[in-house]
Symmetry: C3
Subunit: 160 residues, 3 copies
Amino acid sequence: MNPSPKPLCILVLSGDMEKGLAAMNLSLAAAAGGAPVTLFFSFWGLNFLKRPGAKARGAILQRMMGWMNGDSATSQRLGRFHLGGVGRWAMGRLMRAKQMPSFLNSLALAKPLGVRVVACSTSLEVMGLTREELIPEVDAVEGAAAFLQVAGEANIVTLS
Amino acid sequence: MNPSPKPLCILVLSGDMEKGLAAMNLSLAAAAGGAPVTLFFSFWGLNFLKRPGAKARGAILQRMMGWMNGDSATSQRLGRFHLGGVGRWAMGRLMRAKQMPSFLNSLALAKPLGVRVVACSTSLEVMGLTREELIPEVDAVEGAAAFLQVAGEANIVTLS
Amino acid sequence: MNPSPKPLCILVLSGDMEKGLAAMNLSLAAAAGGAPVTLFFSFWGLNFLKRPGAKARGAILQRMMGWMNGDSATSQRLGRFHLGGVGRWAMGRLMRAKQMPSFLNSLALAKPLGVRVVACSTSLEVMGLTREELIPEVDAVEGAAAFLQVAGEANIVTLS
């Protein structure tokens, strides 16, 4: 309905399942309406872009953190009521019952609509991850300056 | 002082008491300055709009989640130092001592100033809630597309 | 590259170390590109502005909360994998190994670039803190109306 809808730029700093779902819900709605959408994943948000079984390299601390922080594009903890995994299981079942797409399903729908997926270069380095450990849906690895440029004239939504 | 202040659009994704208070603090300041304000509550943020004693319906999982997630417009957990309810009690006492309004008190002040309160339709469905379980202050039940339209030319603040 | 880059206004509501680092990372990138930057710290975000050993005054509840909430400009808990301090220690080591500046180091870099640091007046009062308990890098103590005025034509990033 809007001739040239405002670009949307979403910054995902959290690795909680809820934040990824909210990011994709907004992205799909915006892209379906013709808006350019950029998803920028930083810090724990990078979990959404990790291949299942991704391995952190580097110092022992990075490898230990990578081992603890085992979430990936296919499985994330809930920010509330995680309950050692029971909450995640329940939420997953509810979403399937309601035919709501998972994070990765939504991303598959979003990519053909032009949604751009960016991983934060600084966070990758701190976590000891390389591009190879990320899912193929990632379009680029960029830093804060790139985010600010995209954010310039966009609506910014921060999920932290 | 500003002839036509920029609209403010607040997205509340968290159910933590702090986020609801911040949302209302900003809403009141913006509305008092003449800005159109829309509050959009999604995911756990919906807790702020639930009647005390609201019941989730649907599958057993939804009812169980509703039972666990007992927060409502009159009582929310703190994101930090909840301490099984002690933190909430202490914060409530502090706020009364400082004569700071609660979430619901602020909402009562905000509504006559034209602040619009929207509940996210997708979240309601996942949680097994209907309009009847929400407080009367809710103006509409809408989805992501509606949020994006309101957000279009507004300042967006995300509380997640 | 941009003749007059858009101002950046960051609202920090969380006291988690990750949020402070993200705020400073964005601030430095924006200020280096010539954008006016304002950092607004509210609620638990005020922890980033507290002198080490800052003391809350007032009612016993405020002093107790101040005692529990011992984080300061030099030491904050991690939002994820805090693990009783082990996560913070590990993250601190990783950052030093990667030569990434701490929150306070970044702030020292940001101030000469014109980054403005504001503490929320309402939050200060609730927490029983005065200007004297804050680090000297704080430029002003202001309320929600001041935030909205700065946010007016800026890009807003919320870290909550």
